[in-house]
């Protein structure tokens, strides 16, 4: 699993800081999460293959999370895209995008499929044989969802040495890998644990931005391995966090600690702070294993 941070700063794009966008590479998918203004240039800059993106997830309809979307959709058209593009986002996103395209008489020549989200409880919005994705309802000034990406548990790995000890036909290997016991011709049962190794633990990634401190996240995120949580402010500005429905580094770390995640990535920093290192310091007093997002950074798990 790889996470490319294209932009992780709050509010307005600046010469050295981009609004929110990131690409999650998981099980051969490239999922684009949020799409602030300038995202397509960031994709080019970091040499991410546009054409591999087929699913775009928009958390909410504040400009710093979606004003790059009309341009990206138009660019896909100019690049001759033919395959489907799925957009997941709050109700209204379809109307906005289609109006922009209609005004320019610039309809896509590829299928553009909107999945508008309206629920206030978590729902499954994507599933294939390797990955599933649920929404994470967040608490912001407007309707907002985070997204929870989870690999499915893979097959068990054959312990070839152990298998060879018994007269087991290769035709049964597939079944054994799915967790079944082996039954020999004489009726003897060999327990699966003896014949296989545990598969690698699946990766999971929770994207939580933008949101006020929301302790209800903890139960939803129990056991998740990597969590990105917004930290627009430091604790010293917690009054601003409260007023704008954003979180502080301390609050993000509290969620991470209580949910027992392995790794916390902080982002969505307010550009009022000249140095972002203070975010790590504040969070680490509560939760070890804090990483700071930054534009262009790539995390490999």
């Amino acid at each position: 699993m790889k996470l490319h941070i294209l932009g992780c700063y709050a509010a307005t794009p600046r010469t050295m800081s981009n609004p929110t966008s990131q690409v999650l590479e998981i099980k051969n998918h490239l999922f684009l999460i949020d799409c602030g203004e300038g995202t397509q240039v960031q994709l080019r800059k970091h040499k991410i293959k546009f054409s591999r993106i087929s699913h775009i997830f928009i958390s909410h309809l504040h400009g710093d999370h979606f004003f790059g979307l009309p341009g990206l959709i138009s660019t896909f058209r100019l690049l001759g895209r033919e395959k489907e593009l799925h957009i997941y986002g709050p109700e209204g996103i379809k109307e906005a995008i289609t109006l922009m395209l209609k005004l320019g008489k610039s309809w896509t020549n590829y299928p553009l499929i909107f999945h508008e989200l309206t629920k206030n409880s978590s729902e499954r919005i994507f599933e294939d044989d390797k990955v599933f994705i649920d929404t994470i309802p967040l608490d912001h000034r407007i309707y907002t969802n985070g997204f929870l990406f989870r690999e499915k548990q893979g097959e068990r790995k054959l312990n070839i040495e152990a298998v060879k000890k018994y007269p087991i036909d290769q035709a049964y290997y597939r079944k054994i890998k799915t967790g079944e016991n082996a039954v020999l011709e004489d009726g003897q049962i060999i327990r699966n644990e003896e014949l296989t190794f545990d598969p690698p633990r699946p990766w999971s990634y929770a994207y939580c931005s933008d949101t006020a401190f929301k302790p209800e996240l903890v139960s939803k995120l129990k056991g998740i391995r990597v969590m990105y949580h917004e930290a627009t402010f430091l604790d010293s500005e917690s009054h601003l966090a409260k007023a704008t429905r954003h979180a502080t580094a301390r609050q993000a770390a509290t969620i991470a600690r209580d949910a027992g995640v392995e790794t916390l990535i902080l982002g969505h920093f307010s550009t009022r702070y000249k140095e972002i290192s203070a975010f790590a310091e504040e969070a680490e007093s509560i939760f070890p294993g804090v990483l700071l997002a930054d534009d262009g950074k790539q995390f490999v798990f």
Copy 2:
């Protein structure tokens, strides 16, 4: 008069080339013309004072000319703007912008005033005591206007030495500067030409993008001093120009020559060309005095 080119490339924004946007500085106004994605970052990069922009002119509703507008409008709000912002552009621009702001519950706290354009003939859209602005209907795939910015003729300059030769009271100087003759107490008339110098010749700037070759522009632009004309293609791709309702460098130069402008600035180059110098070569064979736009370039007249 100063012209800041923020972006002058066609179609999609790239790491080293920005879609169309420029700022015309004339008679203490900063007029923003077109607003492709990333314009606000270009404004910051080139240290142009956001707050001095009160009038934005959008030629047409293709993304590379207006997808930066919702973000710029939002940033003005975040910067605490209070004064009016006027947007001139094709019908539909108001609906698009207001929808984007509504979805984010991000209404501006400053007056946002739309002037929607629908006419197919030139019309006056702005006038104050120093400048006036007319539309220039263009010929593109969708409804498109260029814009013609003209300084008003200033007052004549007093020739103090000449004036002092006569018994003329200072109270009459204002009238003389407006072009009136002086009438002495004995009834003698002193002709204005003897008492004043010609005022500086007013500057004028015609912005023509995007458009197919449109010879009808010539009569409208007679005597204009500086013309920006799109040259998306070279003559070798004139079939593409025709098909997409764009112009070639040769066609832009033909308009410039026939209208008798002083200076032609070429822009809106297709990114298919690695070198833009060929645009100047092609145009100069028809019209001398060709300048090439480029992102970040500033022309001072």
